[in-house]
Symmetry: C2
């Protein structure tokens, strides 16, 4: 690769690195003052470390910073974005003149970093997630790609309070990610007050050591110490990830900012900037703003793969969709080497264990730590893999912020939530996913799928593996009969009409377990000479609005939506929203959903009690 | 109080405690076999510890286990619920015969514990949250109530991977909660495989010690060691919380279960039960099932308080609703001693800092750890306080699982999400709450409020403090003008009609920042002789459906909904869902919302770009 030569520390030009750090400080101050917002003092504390990383440690070609063999950097303390941008510009990834566009409408240099910018793998800004991103990338490089790629993650000390960080720390140690180096900028000042441990890097060192990391404390403003520590970390082949706890000062380098409270998130005024720059003289002239965008091209999708042989299920065969998902993963992995699975210690419940049996090196146990599990997935996806992250639907709510950030990253991670709804039965409400459709619908650019049988579960899993953006598939605990032939196609958006006649009294729109209840209701009503149309709305988002409208009209504009989910944000939200915007005058509309807090009981007792069973569907049709 | 005498360890009847442990094992096995589901081996490992807690350490009156001075117990490893129930029954809280109803429809003895049962303060079952519950209760007892109440939390080792646990550990040490004792049941077997640290309690000890706890490792099946350690923890006045790392065996006590893989979540068959009981002989006769419910009475609400003096804002005064929220908290706290605030290191952004100034002892800094912050709130609420938990709306998504569990607990916690929508401007999408209305609407029993000005922010904050269940209030970053007089009332459900005439072309339904944009649009359209009705939908859930229907009809069934939120699950979801179910035939419907991923820019640029500004509202009306 065309890269900067790899200097050993004895060749490290400390003066050059200190000079770069000085420039990074100047840029950070100038940028934020010009933008009128930003976090300059959070940049000043980390400038020496970032200089050592970008201009000594990291191996990359500034003309191609995302080459597969380039080292990676994650700015976990995302509000120090200006510092990252300054380093990237000084490294030559884009011109210095671009820095003046920080936070402007249309500039890829946003308030917090996103992958619109080359060299940035995932969006940060919601604290405590960057170490998981780094762990995912380090895992991919080491275990899947077998590439000598090193991943550096810069964290703030305030964000060390986030449990997500410690989930990532456990995970990285467990997987022996010695190609992962974290640096914590311990500047001792949070947003609103001194952070819990003040200037106590030793406490962090002990905690990291207790988690199986190699941990050292360094003076974060002593370039010789920084470079030495980074080099030793790089050279160590200890099988452990490394962390440098860098004791720093917020606002370091400017006398009226250094370690002063009240400056978080405050840009300097023009006068204050002039005073600050006087302390950093000589300062280079200001660059003319560069109006050209240096953003990465938009778009992208998961790695393509050939057609997957269809599954071998027979009509009427009893199989849970959660189990079919597991078989599908293994089947897709056989033709797609990019498939990886990350599970939350429930692999025998989500059936991700099938992939572990067929492709053990593509299966990673995340243990009971959903936040990290999801964001490790983002790291894996950034390296070109197609991760399927699975746990109980209810427990994916543990990682909503992580999914939200993954969407801002335009990541292609796929998630599977099993054990949805009251249909899980006696385990009770803590285990029941009743809000997951609402959660995943409210994710930018997401696809939300809900198969009712094993064949559709198989096809929809495969579909997700081909679609860009966040993908979610909802699976059911109990066994249900196969409804579709193995060669059935499931377009997205789309739905299936499973029962129809010319005299349909109403259309019942359902999915998953309620689809089967709707079929039972259809049979019951048929005995009473009442015909209904039954629709399997397997694609909840996007929804096939024109197709649905046609079906609703054919059934006299009488609609029953029935779902094993809370009333808000699920099938009902999707269907009634679409019909309203289309101006369809509903002669009659009923929404059967789970209202209130559920409890332990048998599945059939719960379906009845919460009004979503065949009996209730039939009653709704008749009313 | 009428309590069991406080034995010193030298008086502890070890044989009696071992006998109780044997009975707890018998009950756990019998219960789960009868129910046909459950986690008996997870109960067997912890039976000795639970016996020592219930029959030696904890001070409570079984006839009144929720008395304010009773010690508390949290079963954080919620799947060991049968063990808890067995202990409660043996202690006399309810008859042994009730145990046979485990997991039955109608029984308060659910698959995972909930506060339907006396002696249980919060629902568990989503792992890793119990220590936060305990920390919240310990904090309340020690710092607010000044009561000598000890809180015990039993965790499993698998759940120690959850970051939430470590957030709670930091918090408890920071607040010097030496009335909090955690016991970790280190049995080394997760659901699907050996846990990360196997049987390594020493690693946990080091990590807890690094977090500022007193930590010891004990043999979890040696009653003398257990009792001694508990007594020493109780006697220590070290200012530190204590943790006992109990080395145990999953399935301990039964030869074919002890430390065997594959038994997680599996009840014994009738034959296996017979073999197991043979190893635990002599066994007491089976009790007849007791059909009487011993559930706590349902209902409840936050502590009542007198009328709050109204705020002193003038029409047109510019104030951000986030700031008005802060003032409201302080004003309510002046008449309601139960108000407490927990903040996520953004107190100068959420303005919870005002409460810190007026009632510093009722303000708790949660630092950057939202999961713990929310569930500490649940602990505080369990002690009778009315907690207001605040951070940026986007970061509340970090705690969706915790909010979900709080709803299952029927907790009365209140949450405030500031910095909602694209209206925050240049900080960019990582800081923008665009899915929070969807999230909080999909919470059982929640109230979701969205004030557009300082007066309504004040009144709605007060309203939440009086309402039962989870309450959410969404606040805006930029200043907006006061629209209402200080004596205005805001019923829930309800909305305000701010502009109306007899010729309204359409009704525009908005809230927060878009309400102000709608008013601007009204003024613009008036110049063109086009009249529109403008509605401030401050109560998103519950929604005043009949009232809204009347307004929609008066405006010719032409509706524009405009919100600074994603299209899914927010105002649009609420409005169109309600109108659909009411069968209102919309002549025309438009939904203006933020589609896709936002980016850094000025607020006005973003409002325009994402189609929710006055200009777009006017255009939607005209089309």
């Amino acid at each position: 690769m065309n890269a900067m030569p790899q200097p050993a520390s004895e060749h490290a030009n400390l003066e050059a690195l200190k000079e770069k750090a000085r420039l990074l400080r100047i840029h950070s101050l100038r940028m934020t003052t010009r933008a009128g917002s930003g976090h300059p003092t959070s940049c000043l504390s980390a400038a020496d470390v970032v200089s050592a990383l970008f201009f000594h440690a990291m191996r990359f070609d500034p003309k191609n910073p995302d080459a597969p063999d380039a080292d990676r950097f994650v700015m976990s303390k995302g509000h120090a974005a200006p510092l990252l941008y300054a380093a990237q510009a000084e490294a030559g990834i884009y011109p210095l003149g671009r820095l003046a566009t920080l936070r402007e409408d249309g500039s890829e240099l946003e308030g917090h970093p996103t992958p619109r910018i080359r060299g940035v793998d995932a969006a940060t800004g919601s604290l405590g997630q960057g170490l998981s991103v780094g762990a995912g990338m380090a895992l991919a490089a080491k275990r899947l790609e077998k590439r000598d790629v090193r991943v550096y993650v810069l964290l703030g000390d305030g964000e060390m309070a986030e449990g997500n960080v410690w989930e990532a720390a456990e995970f990285a140690a467990r997987y022996g990610l010695d190609n992962l180096t974290a640096i914590v900028d311990v500047n001792g000042l949070g947003q609103s007050q001194r952070t819990m441990y003040g200037h106590d890097p030793e406490a962090f060192r002990d905690r990291f050591a207790g988690n199986g990391w190699d941990a050292v404390v360094i003076d974060g403003h002593d370039m010789n110490a920084i470079v030495g520590a980074i080099d030793r970390a790089r050279a160590a082949r200890s099988g452990k990830p490394q962390v440098l706890l860098a004791k720093t000062q917020k606002g370091h380098g400017i006398s009226f900012l250094a370690d002063k409270e009240g400056w978080h998130g405050k840009p300097l005024s023009k006068d204050e900037l002039a005073r600050a720059l006087a302390e950093l003289h000589p300062v280079p002239p200001t660059e003319d703003p560069d109006p050209k965008s240096y953003a990465r091209p938009a778009g992208g999708a998961p790695s393509d793969f050939p057609a997957v042989p269809p599954p071998n299920y027979t009509l009427g065969q009893e199989m849970a969709t959660r189990e079919a998902y597991g078989h599908a993963l293994a089947r897709i992995a056989a033709v797609n080497p990019k498939i990886v699975a990350v599970d939350g210690d429930v692999k025998n419940s989500t059936f991700a264990e099938f992939l572990e049996k067929t492709h053990a090196d593509h299966f990673f146990q995340g243990y009971i730590a959903e936040q990290n599990m999801v964001t490790v997935g983002v790291g894996l996806a950034a390296r070109g893999f197609t991760p399927f992250v699975a746990t109980f639907a209810a427990f994916l709510s543990r990682a909503f912020d992580q999914v939200r950030m993954a969407a801002i990253s335009r990541s292609h991670i796929k998630l599977c939530g099993s054990h949805c709804g009251v249909s899980i039965g006696e385990d009770g409400p803590s285990q029941m996913g009743l809000e997951d459709l609402a959660m995943f619908r409210a994710v930018a650019g997401s696809t939300v799928l809900y198969p009712s049988d094993a064949v559709s579960a198989d096809k929809l899993t495969e579909a997700l593996a081909r679609l860009p953006g966040i993908g979610y598939i909802r699976t059911t605990r109990p066994k249900t009969p196969v409804l579709y032939k193995s060669d059935e196609k499931f377009p997205i958006p789309g739905f299936k009409v499973l029962r129809e006649s010319a005299q349909d009294r109403a259309v019942v729109i359902a999915a998953g377990i309620t689809l089967h209840e709707a079929l039972k209701a259809h049979a019951e009503l048929a005995k009473q000479n009442i015909a209904i149309r039954v629709i399997d709305l397997y694609s909840v988002k996007p929804i096939d609005t024109p197709g649905l409208i046609a079906q609703v009209k054919a059934a006299g504009n009488r609609v029953v939506v029935v779902e094993d989910h809370f009333p808000e944000g699920g099938l009902g939200g999707a269907v009634f929203g679409a019909l309203s915007l289309a101006g369809i005058p509903l002669a009659s509309a009923r929404h059967l959903a789970v209202s209130g807090v559920a409890h332990s009981a048998k599945m059939d007792e719960l379906l009845n009690e919460f009004g979503i069973s065949a009996k209730h569907i039939a009653a709704a049709v008749k009313s």
